[in-house]
Assembly symmetry: C2
Homo-oligomer: 349 residues x 2
């Protein structure tokens, strides 16, 4: 391979600039697959111009007999690029794979076994700890525009609703000192493969990418090719646009909900909150529901069991003043008195 | 068949009540297929209790040699139910079938021929004229919850964006005197088939339902069964919920955009409009874009060519005051002066 600048590096530079990343210690998660190898090489191209201090992290899920060889391969790749490399490995005491999927993901089908969640948890635990130990401010992962498309389609089929349609965000704060970034999110997997071919760089074709098994694999290798061939050759762009619009509109509703709360909340106590009903009169019900959900969250009351119907009834109570009393989950009681609406949580719950 | 009340009639009664329909002259579009036959029988059950004056309309697309027999069958069905029946027929001078699909529907694939649009146009032309001649205030069509699901999925795949996700509305004003209603929109096709079986009522298995050919047929008979079997047995409900949320959120954005315009528009002339920029300061960009699109529409300026990017640049100009000038499609120029933003359309365009 050479270190010439490539179109990949240009796109990567734009992404890092948009994320305001420069002169920063950055941990790169590398499975050894095409996406993460392309990410690593692309970042190496930019390490001088953007003054990046790179460290590679690889997690060995130990699900295959030869997985240690993958770890070895990644170590050698990093050494060749003069980047420090930390290898983690699943220990005998860690949660076993595979285990039954959590109910959120199981859907109605029920019996499917998916190790994704526990594998992901272990790997991210290792990555966060390593970032902390190495003093890294950012953790870069190799999700692409194809991952984005697949996620949006997965969420549509699973029924995650409009919030799930927003897809994968380009960055997410993991804690006060560490931000997860996805600088390849606008790039297609095909472009990464071209870049790797131009660099004459090999990659592992079967890394321990357990997350892609089951549903995601079927979306990638069966459903999406069928949709492109039989329905719309540009279905990927269609899904990506939908995701952008959905997260844009969701952001608008959330911003308005926060503004509404600022005006409408009269008094906050740990076990109660009081609203001025007049402020809600001209607001669309979607914004009122979002504001009530946000207020509930700010009280740190348990969110589980509080459904769309509860929020909808509460919104209608705020606007119409009827009913005057409503019981909500976790012992929260809503009561209307004139222009006031009070939510109060009983101490027993 | 008998005229006993059925669960279908109960659901239909709820739908008509929600649409405030009672004591009204109502034209029922009947192809002779299961959905429209069930609609007609269900409405007949309610004609006394809701004082409905029913008339049947059937359009013979004359695409098959035996299509006149279908028309005859529908006439006899209506006669048996003591409902007047008007038959329309495509004439030699009408637009031929099939013709190339309009570019909006053609997508990138390009070559597919689809007669849907022209067939639909002819049929709706006949239905509207018949409603007028018969003095009908409502036109009832037999779209079901399955049509809704298929439409949402079709829009997702075609890339209609978030607005297209709203799906089929339960009613739509065709003109000042005629409203299209879809009282079966919450009912599954399987429920209609059960009701028909209970009534011992036959129906045509291959009516001239040209709209369901091509893409829609593949969605109904191939894609949706695959999604239910391999991804989520409740995918229909997931798509329906998504449609409800999307149209709910879209309605919120539109309501806020109208409120914003009321506050922010200072002066309107046929060829110009002026805004107070201060009103936009705390508004989310999604609401500002919608308000600008609405203002443009209220001026009756041509909408074609005005894209997301134009609206986005204009929104940013409103909020930031820069750039101070912007050229938009159809000779519209935007200019910022202090707290004012003016849109002016040159007379030449």
């Amino acid at each position: 391979m050479t270190n010439d600048k490539s179109p990949l590096s240009d796109a990567l530079q734009s992404a890092l600039t948009a994320l305001h990343i420069q002169d920063a210690p950055l941990l790169v998660a590398v499975s050894g697959g095409a996406d993460s190898v392309a990410l690593l090489l692309g970042l190496c191209d930019l390490r001088e111009s953007l003054r990046l201090q790179l460290t590679v992290a690889h997690f060995d899920h130990a699900l295959r007999a030869d997985s240690a060889e993958d770890a070895q391969w990644v170590s050698q790749l990093a050494a060749g690029l003069r980047v420090p490399c930390i290898i983690g490995r699943r220990e005998a005491g860690d949660a076993p794979h595979p285990r039954p999927l959590s109910s959120e993901y199981r859907g109605e089908g029920g019996s499917e076994m998916m190790p994704e969640e526990s594998a992901r948890k272990l790997r991210y635990g290792f990555l966060r700890q390593t970032a902390k130990e190495q003093g890294c401010r950012y953790l870069a992962v190799a999700h692409t525009a194809d991952d984005q498309t697949e996620t949006v389609l997965h969420h549509i089929l699973r029924g995650s609703g409009l919030k799930g349609l927003g897809g994968i965000p380009p960055q997410r704060e993991l804690d006060a000192d560490l931000t997860l970034i996805r600088p390849l999110l606008k790039l297609r997997r095909a472009d990464l493969l071209s870049a790797l071919a131009a660099w004459d760089q090999t990659f592992l074709t079967d890394p321990t990418n357990v997350e892609l098994q089951y549903t995601r694999n079927r979306i990638r290798h069966d459903l999406l090719p069928k949709l492109r061939a039989e329905f719309n050759p540009k279905v990927d762009e269609a899904l990506e646009r939908l995701a952008i619009q959905a997260s844009d509109q969701q952001a608008a509703i959330e911003q308005l909900a926060r503004q509404l709360l600022q005006k409408a909340v009269i008094d906050v106590q740990p076990d109660s909150i009081r609203f001025n009903r007049n402020e809600f009169a001209t607001m669309p019900v979607a914004v009122i529901r979002e504001a009530l959900s946000l207020a509930w969250q700010q009280q740190s009351w348990p969110r589980q069991g509080l459904g769309f119907q509860h929020l909808d009834h509460l919104a209608s109570m705020l606007v119409n003043g009827t009913p005057t009393k409503l019981s909500l989950p976790h012992g929260v009681e809503a009561a209307c008195r004139g222009n006031l609406l009070e939510l109060r949580k009983s101490k027993r719950n």
